[in-house]
């Protein structure tokens, strides 16, 4: 059924409650003179009625609680994601060269500087890493992940500035990885993500107390640079890693830290 474009617009606007008074008069005239317009309006009213009668669905009862359980409000967060990864950053000491175009993301952490010599903190914050240098050299420990929700690997290697926890992860759904560094006597000094993933940023990266929390969805390759805390001898050697989905812990394991 062919209908004048103007009539079509007026009838749709009427159905949507967006008709001005002058347009209403125009529509009434159109309906008086055009049986096609009348028929079209009836069809649209029927369609509109169908949508009106669609029941609203109730979300799962636990959804609000699940979401609240996953958030920590800003006062407790130490989380910095730079909107433009390279903007305003200067390469830092530490021997990590910067290769333009290879770095996908750089995130800087503010460390708790208690008991840490000031010059160390300054030199370690904000490492820029080229993708060909994310793999830190040296021997380390490796954890292969072949879970239903997540595959990939986590490895710990020596780097020039301390140790590098390297993650190569792939998951369709959002999967939360918690790395307990404090109990292993380690502190975070930097983070880098390179271009070997799917091109997106990892969803969440947080440092809460001595625990690093990462939410991975998609394919990502990134490194968390760590170093021993001054009191590391009082701590264990293992880095505990926990993996959860929808708030449920699905996997736990340990990586031995390098002393």
């Amino acid at each position: 059924m062919a209908i004048d474009e103007k009539y079509e617009e007026l009838i749709n606007a009427d159905i949507d409650g967006e008709l001005s008074s002058s347009e209403r008069r125009e529509l009434e005239a159109a309906l008086d003179s055009s049986p096609e317009a009348v028929a079209y309006r009836v069809e649209l009213l029927e369609l509109n009625n169908v949508f009106h009668n669609i029941p609203e669905l109730d979300p799962p009862p636990a959804l609000v609680r699940n979401i609240l359980d996953q958030v920590q409000l800003p006062a407790k967060r130490k989380f910095f994601k730079l909107p433009s990864p390279l903007a305003g950053l200067n390469p830092v000491a530490g021997g990590l060269a910067f290769a333009a175009g290879l770095v996908l993301a750089v995130v800087i952490y503010e460390n708790d500087s208690r008991n840490v010599p000031q010059q160390d903190t300054v030199s370690m914050v904000g490492a820029m890493v080229a993708s060909d240098q994310v793999n830190a050299p040296g021997q380390g420990n490796n954890l292969l992940l072949e879970l239903d929700v997540l595959s990939g690997s986590v490895s710990l290697n020596l780097s020039e500035n301390g140790q590098a926890l390297e993650f190569d992860l792939n998951s369709n759904q959002a999967v939360e990885i918690e790395i307990d560094l404090e109990k292993a006597g380690l502190m975070v000094v930097g983070f880098a993500q390179d271009d070997r993933g799917d091109g997106s940023f990892i969803d969440t990266l947080e440092l809460l107390g001595g625990t690093m929390r990462v939410v991975n969805q998609g394919k990502h390759h990134f490194v968390i640079f760590v170093r021993q805390t001054p009191d590391s001898k009082n701590h264990g050697k293992d880095i505990r890693i926990g993996i959860s989905q929808d708030g449920q812990r699905v996997y736990e394991d340990r990586l031995g830290s390098i002393r």
């Binding site: 079509e8 949508f51 669609i54 959804l63 407790k76």
Partner: protein, 179 residues
């Protein structure tokens, strides 16, 4: 006592108020979930998208610009996340209704509301950009101006797509004998 508006709640969230975030969550949980369900036709996916949307809101509290309406922002995130799910599951292109019938899970098969199911199948048979506009109009009740703001499209394009989407839906429903 009137509840605070969205902008006030967002300001309180940014200052660390968990109560304000919870109020926003309760206020928008249902529309976001329903929009995601209509986009994806899966309760599990709708739940995941709703969760992701609110976590993104929380993570980006500092990026919220109060000159825009909060619901525009959250609905945009919800639709983008839904489209991401469609992309990841290679469902971006419309499915024909025969395919949809074969891929329904038990939750859909158990639905007693044939009309609702018929509309949902018709929605799944149109392209996701048309579906987004129909969801914004008929599920979330947005005006042309609001849809234009949410999708960052000229109002003229919004109208044109909505009219086309309706035409496609009518044809699909006639074909299925639902309308």
């Amino acid at each position: 006592m009137n509840e605070p508006d969205d902008t006030t709640l967002m300001e309180q969230c940014a200052k660390g108020s968990r109560q304000a975030f919870e109020t926003l969550l309760v206020r928008y949980e249902k529309p976001v979930y329903n929009a995601a369900y209509r986009m994806l036709h899966s309760r599990d996916d709708a739940r995941d998208v709703t969760q992701t949307v609110f976590l993104k809101v929380y993570e980006n509290l500092d990026q919220y610009d109060p000159k825009y309406r909060f619901f525009s922002w959250i609905y945009r995130i919800a639709l983008n996340e839904s489209v991401n799910v469609l992309k990841k599951s290679s469902r971006l292109e419309p499915l024909n209704t025969e395919t949809i019938s074969q891929t329904q899970g038990p939750e859909q098969q158990a639905s007693s509301d044939e009309m609702s199911e018929g509309v949902q199948m018709a929605l799944m048979a149109i392209k996701s950009d048309y579906r987004s506009i129909v969801v914004l109009k008929h599920v979330l009740g947005c005006s042309y101006t609001e849809i234009s703001e949410i999708l960052e499209l000229p109002e003229k394009t919004v109208k044109s797509r909505l009219y086309s989407a309706r035409q496609l839906l009518k044809e699909q429903l006639d074909q299925d004998g639902t309308n």
